[in-house]
Symmetry: C2
Subunit: 313 residues, 2 copies
């Protein structure tokens, strides 16, 4: 397929010009009628920086890219309405690879769910998938600001499992048959945007953030935006039952991975103590006076270095 | 500056959380209150494919990237409301380069005009600037569909000048002091999104498209979407007074560049013959029965090969 053939394939695959989508792929821009305020953000997955081609089929890797972008909508309590996907495709991407990428993007969009309403194709030396997600919110806007001293800190799922899964993929030497390592790698490959949880939190959470740079780093962002400090109880932080064992077998410090590992795509949020959110998340700490994040493990202070996401490339 | 330092610089430069921008840079996503339907599209400028670093300062090249994206909003008759900018930055981009890119993006956004409301930073081997533009339209939507047989075809400016300017930049051997060559290269480096023209056309044009792939290719798209053919009168197509001369001096076929050159960022549109749009554009042809584009030069049919934009990389 040449560029026009590929655009034709995309148009055929993605066109949804119905209902509130007044114009979709195939014109200079998409036109959407929104039933609320627009919530939008952009995210990129670059080969060699965010993923390597050998880790999984390109369909799974592109699927992951759009879900990662959707996770930011989840943190705002937004409902997805559409996505734009811009692909930079090196010569090494043949038609089969191209269709795999397109299929993965389509599948990822279906999980949010929202239609792909536009995009762009370009040549380039480096494969990258840039996703703009478009959602709506009505009335309240859930942001990083709004946490108060005394609020409880929650996570919607294990914040370190996907980072450890990435270590498994990077090591490539997970003992075959080690189900825990395989499950963790699988978790990295197949995140889920916490859209339903985010929407449910709109009325209940005081502040929220998507964990993409690591639990401590992102909690630090939330605290800075809200003007509070936070203390987390490490023993409460959810993780795979064999987290420590797999981490140690890979030479990875379990605590660093648990508290500093990125790519979690779980929501980290705060809620007043009298608000029940245990159906959505696990409590891991509390907002306190001050301006930083501290951690305790069985009552003992944990030294927090600069634990944040590091690009592996 | 590390990644956090760069994000801080961006946040400081771009934050506009006021009026209808409920949340801007610094949260998981931006939130905008729109006074109409959302019009949105994404475009990328990749080093080595869409530009080379030596052609101009990075501020001018990044400025151009956002204006190119804005041109698609112009073709829909939309009013810009915001933009998201995703940068992939190789190691060779130092802090001075980074700030130049940021300044150019800011300046380009100011010309549309609209604020930068969000974005993303990533490492990567290849410099790229991906821009998502967000605009609104109320009531009518101007698209590629809607041209009728008998409508007049117009362009808002010379459709081949910027492509010829690109040839000047690629050749790098424009005789210094050749003012025409310099002016054409300058036109390529400094496009203008025809936002005001697009808005004025909402009530007057029957169909419109941004010329990015070349006059004939984009008119072909408009015709296909509208179900008409078109004939253009080549002698009417506006161009630099010394277009043919500069083209010939570079070994470029003037007609190919005029009719097939991309990167024009002018609007190509149709309007009924009784609607006056001469304040906005130049008539160059007419919609006819059929399904393709034909061209005449002083009454003689011009053979149109496959004249479309070619990536130079």
């Amino acid at each position: 397929m040449d560029e026009l053939g590929r655009i034709a394939a995309l148009t055929k695959r993605f066109q949804h010009p119905s209902g509130d989508i007044l114009v979709s792929i195939g014109d200079d821009a998409a036109v959407l009628r929104l039933d609320g305020d627009l919530v939008t953000t952009v995210d990129v997955a670059v080969e060699g920086v965010h993923f390597r081609r050998g880790w999984a089929g390109l369909d799974r890797l592109s699927r992951r890219a759009i879900i990662a972008a959707g996770s930011d909508l989840a943190a705002m309590g937004a409902e997805p309405r559409g996505a734009l996907v811009s692909l930079v495709l090196p010569d090494t991407i043949g038609d089969e690879d191209f269709l795999a990428i397109v299929n993965g993007v389509a599948e990822g969009a279906e999980t949010l769910p929202c239609p792909i309403v536009g995009g762009n194709l370009s040549a380039g030396a480096e494969l990258s998938i840039t996703t703009t997600v478009l959602g709506v919110t009505r009335g309240r806007v859930l942001t990083r600001r709004g946490a108060h001293v005394g609020d409880v800190v929650y996570v919607t799922g294990p914040p370190g499992d996907r980072a450890l899964g990435l270590e498994v993929l990077l090591a490539r030497d997970a003992p075959s048959g080690d189900e825990a390592a395989i499950a963790l790698a699988e978790a990295w490959l197949a995140p889920k945007a916490r859209i339903a949880e985010g929407r449910a939190l709109l009325a209940r959470a005081s502040a929220a953030i998507d964990i993409s740079d690591g639990l401590v780093a992102d909690l630090g962002q939330l605290c800075r935006a809200s003007g509070v400090g936070a203390r987390i109880y490490v023993e409460s932080v959810p993780r795979h039952p064999r987290f420590e064992e797999v981490a140690s077998s890979l030479g990875v410090a379990p605590l660093t991975c648990l508290l500093g590992g990125g790519d979690a795509y779980e929501l980290l949020f705060t809620a007043p103590p009298d608000v029940d959110v245990r159906d959505l998340a696990v409590p891991i700490g509390r907002c306190i006076e001050g301006d930083g994040v501290e951690a305790r493990l069985d009552g003992v202070a944990v030294e927090l270095g600069r634990t944040g996401y590091r690009h592996f490339g």
